[in-house]
């Protein structure tokens, strides 16, 4: 990924988040605390504003900017989780950024370290893990992302506030999984535009 694609990725992610803000909140209402749409919308609005004013000129600068903005503007659980994701990507990119799959893998590991969730716990990890795998195999398509999101429906939540409703979380899409899907759809779109 180059800097132009990276910036476009964040712009598209912001557009999707703003469009689907109410739907994200709807997803968060029965199993969480109804703040995911608002939090992500506030955070991503700040991200595009920061990109606009600070004009990062390398992917490294961009990842740094996204990390600090998300950490300082989102709050809740999504702030530290998305912030950690971009921080993990940044660290991997600085270390061994030989493939984009590896960079995303760094993001995934960082989320797991912060949130202590595993595959099957009905969290954003359930989208990140298959996406990272598919990226490594150069097989990431929109369908892979959508299938991963749908697959969170029958799961019983074991982490976060959704875990408090236990059995009642079954049948609902995890809001963090859905917003992660928006992130990866935006990534594919940005890459396709290049």
């Amino acid at each position: 990924m180059d800097i132009q694609t990276g910036i476009r990725w964040m712009e598209l992610f912001n557009e999707k988040i703003q469009q689907e803000k109410d739907y994200l909140t709807q997803l968060d209402t029965p199993i969480g605390d109804s703040d995911h749409g608002n939090n992500m919308s506030r955070g991503m609005a700040h991200v595009v504003k920061a990109i606009d004013t600070q004009s990062p000129d390398s992917l490294e600068e961009l990842l740094k900017l996204v990390t600090t903005t998300l950490l300082s503007k989102v709050g809740g659980a999504s702030g530290p989780l998305y912030g950690s994701a971009f921080m993990g990507m940044l660290k991997t990119y600085q270390g061994d950024g030989s493939s984009w799959g590896k960079v995303l893998q760094g993001g995934l590991e960082s989320i797991q370290k912060r949130g202590k969730a595993e595959v099957g716990d009905k969290t954003m990890i359930d989208v990140w893990a298959p996406v990272v795998q598919a990226t490594e195999n150069e097989q990431l398509r929109d369908e892979v992302i959508d299938e991963a999101v749908e697959a969170t429906k029958p799961l019983k939540a074991k982490k976060g506030r959704a875990s408090y409703v236990g059995e009642r979380s079954i049948g609902h899409i995890d809001p963090g999984a859905y917003s992660s899907a928006l992130l990866f759809h935006a990534m594919l779109e940005a890459e396709a535009e290049q």
């Binding site: 209402t29 605390d33 109804s34 506030r42 950490l71 300082s72 074991k158 506030r161 875990s163 408090y164």
Partner: protein, 329 residues
């Protein structure tokens, strides 16, 4: 849901401004932040900070003052504050003897406060913390993040705040807080859901004659719905569940909080308190301390929560009775 607001995205900022206008003798706001700090002289003692999402007023800013919190960090509605804000509060509150954080057990709060602690330690400030998990409505298990932290948190503010005022060290405060947490148990019930400002949908909808047991303080659904009953029966359900959590024997002593969730009048809270006292008498349990009112609310939710603190040692009651200078204790 009708609300008295301007732009919902400015609601916390405007609330904090109003709070400062009304209580400028007690508190100040650190400019450009969601941090409310007490105005007292620094005296080199351990600083106590707490915070979380807004929408629970008077918690937590209402408990900032001499004898309780040094500072409170106010996040967006129902959303934990961010690590940089918490770090600012740690730095502002620090009097040189370390900073003790009281955190409610929600994954967002834990992650943000933990990150702030890491940042503060990098700057050479000693930080310790305790996680309040008094809500017995949700099961603890290997898989969940554990029980939620709700109204019992204010008892931790008070008792730990008193210990800090007495000049106890951060190690002594940590030990006190760790022993205190298992002695506090809460459970709530709702007559209505809540609507966050700017949202059109309530968190859940109950029929006119329905109540829900075990709700959280962010409009999270509870564990059981049933028909509305008399206050006495509601009190019996909540108190029985709470008492079962303790290994009680006759003449054991407790402190009790009857906490309004924002939309329940004091009249109903007092009716409920009267029932709680009768039920405690029947069980030959003694209540040595009561706190009745709105302390940890959930916006406009109609409902209340009941908290029992088992008075394991005399320090707890001494601390609860000590005078403080805050807006809302």
């Amino acid at each position: 849901m009708k609300k008295i607001v301007n732009d919902p995205s400015n609601i916390v900022d405007e609330m904090l401004q109003g709070m400062i206008i009304g209580h400028s003798e007690l508190i100040q706001r650190i400019p450009e932040t969601g941090i409310i700090q007490r105005k007292t002289e620094k005296s080199g003692k351990v600083a106590i900070i707490s915070g979380g999402g807004s929408g629970h007023e008077p918690a937590h800013a209402g408990f900032v003052g001499e004898g309780m919190l040094s500072a409170a960090v106010c996040g967006a509605v129902f959303t934990s504050p961010t690590p940089d804000q918490i770090l600012e509060a740690i730095k502002a509150a620090n009097e040189g003897a370390g900073v003790f954080m009281i955190i409610k057990n929600y994954s967002g709060d834990i992650m943000n406060f933990e990150m702030a602690q890491e940042l503060a330690e990098m700057e050479g400030i000693e930080v310790a913390s305790v996680v309040v998990d008094d809500d017995i409505a949700v099961e603890d298990s290997l898989y969940t993040q554990g029980k939620r932290g709700v109204a019992g948190t204010i008892l931790v503010h008070k008792i730990v705040g008193y210990a800090a005022q007495q000049g106890k060290s951060i190690t002594e405060i940590k030990e006190l807080a760790d022993n205190l947490i298992p002695n506090i148990k809460s459970i709530g019930l709702a007559l209505t859901g809540v609507t966050t400002p700017g949202s059109t949908q309530p968190s859940f909808v109950l029929a006119e004659d329905e109540i829900e047991y075990g709700v959280g303080i962010h409009g999270e659904p509870g564990y059981r719905r049933e028909k509305l009953q008399t206050s006495h029966n509601l009190a019996n359900e909540l108190l029985t569940k709470l008492v079962n959590e303790f290994d009680v024997k006759p003449s054991d002593r407790f402190a009790v909080i009857v906490n309004g969730l924002g939309g329940t009048p004091l009249m109903e809270q007092y009716v409920f308190t009267n029932d709680v006292q009768q039920l405690m008498d029947e069980r030959k349990l003694s209540v040595d301390y009561y706190k009745i009112g709105n302390y940890m609310t959930s916006l406009e939710m109609q409902g209340l929560s009941l908290t029992l603190l088992y008075l394991e040692n005399d320090f707890y009651i001494e601390a609860l009775n000590a005078p403080v200078t805050t807006i809302s204790w």
